[in-house]
Assembly symmetry: C2
Homo-oligomer: 334 residues x 2
């Protein structure tokens, strides 16, 4: 696999992105093209021993797209931005996939404008893996689009089910619709109509409505929602985990010696647990529905997250899922 | 204060509801009317020593409304259901407030049909208190309505701000709009238009968009969203907390002696923390926007939650906030 990495995208770019790529290149059988400011990338690489012998290349890109810019406008106007150049490498066939931790909007816009949508898909969706005690649940859309129509949510369900089966190895994955109650009469207009469409499909294993509490429980393999709701839920989950851990830390610091000893003894267990729940262990979420492999990483990605995301990209590309999605859509009637 | 309690509503009704009411009657200077199956209520009361001397009454109601029933239809057809009879007690002036842990939809429908909406309010909203390290954040709408129009969200913001100020004692409360980014250009059509309306208002302290992670952080006093999103977020948060605590428990049970000792030493700190984060400590959420005081409690409410919710009801009624909301709406232009 040959992967284009947007070296300039992310809160901790380019340093953590480049370091993550080096780590991945040491581990995975893949070639990586680092796209961005050549001078800065070389400066970071020079600190990594023996990087010259790794399958790493640099492609200079002078511009960057920041979080505040209008995604589609920025992609159209900044032809030399790292995300545009990286996505072009996939379009031209020079790379198999593109990975970015920069502006999600810009990465999605670049994919839509340059790679185009798969025939039959109205809106691409980010399939975000959520760690649960029973394994990974895929939530889509994680924030690629808002105000989606019911048919778009159904398309997300089909793509999510194929990804869960062929990339995550889940048999006959259970697909749920995120809603405010179990009954089919519950929800807003979008959810009610989506429920009706899902119920008429035999191609996927539709398991009914999923409530908010079903997301962390892990009883569904795929949970479908509008990107507006998905993005809010994901950020809320992150914030909650962060708040709980900070409170535990504060409480321990302020506590007596016995409690501190207790914390010390319990620490390996808590660390192990937090690792199981840590989204950065997965590192990247595929953007499904465009003509090319595209991985969206979290804005705050560390080198470790990027390295893990490159592992995700590897499995994603080798699954050949793009062709499977195309075939499934040709066979579907909406 | 005289409070009508729907004794039959809730997963653990009537036992936990009745016990919670007894506990509250021992603590609070208020009269409670338990509405529901008289025989069952008396049976539970008979286990409580000296209940005859408490300010408790029973009002018989033969029917109940279950979770699966269509709320408005059920309220119209079941005139003798506990929630309808309890809400009628407020309408007639016999009670000052009504409290239910039963079907949220039925409680909201009963309030809307029997008490009617406040003039100027298009949709009532549930103001759910969320515990954060910096105090309580109010999220509204917690699930009274879906597919709300921007003007309804603005009305929720006004009501939430008044509640935060006059009941929770927050000065000049910061009101945020739940969205997928900080910039005013972000979000779905509903959010973008709501942002515009909020920005033109001087009557409340609009602090811009709040992202999902801002909910548990506690930087906003009031966060406004559609009831569809609010309900999903609240249930997701509950599920996540539950999952994390179960995982910690499992990990400790499977661990070695040192870890078990650690857990034992740390337990008082963890319990204290979990108490700070426990939503049942607040117990009830007011339904704002109807002509009467109405408290919605969680379906899984224990006696303790109900007792705390009755405390909330007490403060709510004494705040005289209904009149303040009416005045504020008369002065507002939309």
């Amino acid at each position: 696999m040959k992967l284009a990495v947007d070296a300039m995208g992310g809160d901790r770019a380019p340093a953590e992105i480049v370091k993550g790529a080096v780590e991945a290149a040491r581990k995975n059988p893949c070639e990586i093209v680092l796209v961005g400011d050549e001078e800065k990338i070389v400066e970071i690489l020079s600190e990594e021993e023996g990087w010259e012998n790794l399958p790493l290349k640099i492609r200079h890109a002078a511009e960057t797209i920041s979080m505040g810019e209008h995604p589609a406008d920025a992609v159209r106007n900044k032809k030399n931005s790292s995300i545009v150049v990286a996505t072009q490498l996939v379009k031209s066939g020079e790379c198999d996939a593109v990975l970015s931790a920069g502006s999600t909007g810009a990465a999605v816009a670049a994919a839509q404008i340059i790679l185009k949508r798969i025939h039959g898909i109205g809106r691409p969706a980010i399939a975000t893996p959520i760690p649960t005690p029973k394994g990974v649940t895929l939530l889509l859309d994680g924030g690629a689009n808002v105000d989606s129509k019911p048919v778009h949510l159904v398309q997300s369900g089909i793509m999510g089910a194929l990804y869960a089966e062929h990339v995550l190895g889940k048999k006959n994955p259970r697909v749920g619709l995120l809603n405010i109650g179990e009954e089919e009469t519950k929800g807003n207009e979008q959810a009610k109509e989506t429920f009706r469409l899902f119920s008429n499909m035999t191609a996927i294993n539709f398991a009914g409505n999923a409530e908010g509490r079903d997301i962390p429980a892990g009883d569904f393999d795929v949970i479908v929602c509008d990107g507006f709701v998905g993005n809010i839920v994901l950020k809320f989950g992150e914030g909650m985990a962060l708040t709980i851990f900070e409170l535990i830390k504060e409480a321990i610091e302020a506590a007596n010696v016995a409690t501190k000893l207790g914390a010390l003894l319990l620490m390996p267990t808590l660390k192990d647990l937090s690792k199981r729940l840590d989204a950065s262990e997965y590192g990247g979420a595929p953007l499904l529905g465009v003509n090319g492999y595209c991985i969206i990483s979290h804005g705050s990605s560390s080198a470790k997250s990027i390295c893990n995301a490159i592992g995700v990209a590897n499995g994603y590309v080798h699954s050949n899922i793009l062709e499977k999605i195309k075939t499934a859509l040709d066979e579907q009637k909406f």
